[in-house]
Symmetry: C2
Subunit: 549 residues, 2 copies
Amino acid sequence: MAPEYKTADVSFDNLLRIFTVPEGPDSTLTRIEAELSRNLNLFLREHIVAEEKPLKEIEKDFSNPHIPEAPTFVSDHTQHLMDTLVAQSVHTASPSFIGHMTSALPYFLMPLSKIMIALNQNLVKIETSKAFTPLERQVLGMLHRLIYTQPDHFYQQWMHSADHSLGAFCSGGTVANITALWVARNNALKARDHFTGVEKEGLYKAMQHYGYQGLAILVSERGHYSLKKAADILGIGQDGLVAVRTDENNRLCPIDLQSKIQMLKAQRIHPFAVIGVAGTTETGHIDPLHDIARICRIEHCHFHVDAAWGGATLMSKTYRHLLDGIELADSVTIDAHKQLYIPMGAGMVLFKNPNAMKVIEHHAQYILRQGSKDLGSHTLEGSRSGMAMLVYASMHIISRAGYQLLIDQSIEKAKYFSSLIEQQPDFELVSQPELCLLTYRYLPKPVKNIRTTISLPEKTHLNQLLNELTKFIQKKQREMGKSFVSRTRLNPLSWEHLDTLVFRVVLANPLTTHDILQSILQEQRDIATTYAPLLLEQINQYCQQIATQ
Amino acid sequence: MAPEYKTADVSFDNLLRIFTVPEGPDSTLTRIEAELSRNLNLFLREHIVAEEKPLKEIEKDFSNPHIPEAPTFVSDHTQHLMDTLVAQSVHTASPSFIGHMTSALPYFLMPLSKIMIALNQNLVKIETSKAFTPLERQVLGMLHRLIYTQPDHFYQQWMHSADHSLGAFCSGGTVANITALWVARNNALKARDHFTGVEKEGLYKAMQHYGYQGLAILVSERGHYSLKKAADILGIGQDGLVAVRTDENNRLCPIDLQSKIQMLKAQRIHPFAVIGVAGTTETGHIDPLHDIARICRIEHCHFHVDAAWGGATLMSKTYRHLLDGIELADSVTIDAHKQLYIPMGAGMVLFKNPNAMKVIEHHAQYILRQGSKDLGSHTLEGSRSGMAMLVYASMHIISRAGYQLLIDQSIEKAKYFSSLIEQQPDFELVSQPELCLLTYRYLPKPVKNIRTTISLPEKTHLNQLLNELTKFIQKKQREMGKSFVSRTRLNPLSWEHLDTLVFRVVLANPLTTHDILQSILQEQRDIATTYAPLLLEQINQYCQQIATQ
């Protein structure tokens, strides 16, 4: 039995060993890692505690701000991590964890991730990444082609061009959206006459030069919260993020877009960018991209599509038509860590025009020299890991056809679940799935019977009680630890646009079965009747009272 | 022998298997991973090709923009990755790769990384990260205390407070710096009277309200290139990043800082932030932090310290005094993937005041609800991985004392190397190491003999030839693949501030020995004499010509 490596004695020779001597084959860490490799699902099921421990309790384990003075044995610390951290983490890969955009991951990505981390490349420059740089450029090329389907000679010309860029790989959709809007802002306020561009002179002088009283980005009221951050960071201000009305299907209303643009222009506010959402975070709907593109063309706005979540649908020949018009966008955000099944931390932004990113290009003496192919000259981030390798590998191992199968079955599962909900006497589907995301709530039978006939004040009161019930069920279900749906607030037409709390599910995990979906509904029903009898009684009585008026 | 998993047949059942069935124990991928775990250094040495292949050649392997239609076997693709990608990656962990800030990594981080990736937590919110959220808050608390050494009750009060934040974990120093300056900008232009703050109304209205003609960030001419990006993104403009003169030791000159601030104020340009660099990227020097802090206090500027690289020095009781004054900073950037020996993608920004980040706080309906402890309400990024776990583990396993040893030996190695260079008859030390970074160049003996006695035009001509030689040696050495130093351009006093190309080395890899350093010098000398005899001859002749005048 090989001795387990120990660091508890602080000497330089001992420290060197942590850089040169691997954990022994029988060490706690090696054993745990092997267990994980043998059966990841079992590992997660066995080591993550299902039932919720109050956050206050967990915080006690993580409350010491002192960096330990003396080292801990690797094995001891591993055990500590298993007990306090892993046990109290979230089983995001569980087939009944359908509340957020996480999913189970393909097995082959675990060992590949380890290789990636061991190589420890820094993608900011070729000197610390070499082949990873052309690889990342190829991945960007693949995604660009998936969206824009340019001919092969386009990619031959631009994919590896030092002075051009088809996009940027980044940590996620937020940075991708900020990058797109940064490029859009700088192109809208670029150098002209004696003005050297917003990137040089800043926003204040740019506004004076161009004679604008403000800048605006338009997006539907269902736009992602990160866009507010983007508007803040870029100096536009959150008030400059103008919300466009949506229709009953949560899709941007083109007529309202047009009138908002006119209204802004009348105030000398320049609407330099419009964002179409391809898969809203809350309901999964896709904006009318063709209509938006047409308006952007006429009004000379940058057209950005936030397809962080829905973009992967382009992999499916069955459903890619749902995103028709995306090829007209000036830029598109896609997250690989969502429906491309890559581990957390892989987003991309693609630009139709290989020259678009020139306005954010930057150089330095020791790296990113002019004419170099260093990726860092076009990214918001600096040092970055080689995550693109995982996207590249998945593209090859799963392939386009494999991704199509995954996408198709997710969407079909959502259709199944929506019809299952509609068949229930005591559930209400709030938003139909367009992709694999839908919202619904528990609606006691008496409410269902009277809901179409009651007055607005009655609806308002009833809706408040229902919101309380929805919140209660969602929290209780999470705490019980068997399954998880998330919740959000919508304003559905069927409830007179009242603030309505709903359950939200994302059915991207291929391991989620119909049986699981059935039992999630049953569990929610049981929670209502078992744990909220008083609230249920209150709702039923109010319904009776209305009915007998 | 267990059958290797195959995906080449696209059926949904087959696809499900990649989510449920691990690679077999005899699969190519398992074999390669095991090899890596057994001996990482050997794995890297054996699989990364040393000699440089032209980038043009590598690009040929990564030139196909088509996403494959049909799947590839995991084993086949793994082999493909080994041949085209791993073989052509950079051996950043090599003890003779001393040109950048990468280093060998402790062994235990490889299996821990795999656990982290398998858990696939999303730190944006507690619902997808649970214990990882308090863990990350503790890591931020530890770093905060390392810098600011507040009493324990401070951390009890603020570390886990829902409405406060001691900082943000992010992908790297660039995002950390942008976050610090974003906070500084928003605090400088905050809500007042009828003005609702720059985050709401944007920069243009903020400037009008406050009556400024511009904004400025001051930093020494050695500041990191990412600050230009920050000034651009934040709408300040790169012209608003004002370079302060440095002294002969590459340290910011306080008198010039003061006069630049006055000059800006006279133009009604508001200098809202000053950045002190604690370990410049090019020479490793630390700005006079106390002096900067004093000026910032008087002038009401936000004082940010960019200690992305040098911040880890605080772990050493021997050398932490070099960063004295950092505790006066309003915010500090530290990268864990530099001298804390964490894999790529781990940066942090810390704020002295737990209320500082309120001006960038943001909320959304489905996550980050008001009052939640979701980390995403104070980060530039959205979805993020659980990298903080690796910092936490390293703090415990290596400990403060262990980090001190690592830091101390790096600095002492740099002192050794600088004296070694000074002893050579044909090398010139260009910048003395303050931490473990130094610059130098090859200087043929005849130049060394006459350099103090010659005129400026002669120096200029000679320097041009020397720059050519330096560039040649650096590129040739990289291509030969045995060792790597980087190069940058400085303007040293001893060369009348002429543009001077130099070798730049960072001695953070604990596996780099004195022998290796000696042989790196010898290799550079050999390259000069063997591969650049004509250029050497030209330099020698010019020296002779000067001497005989």
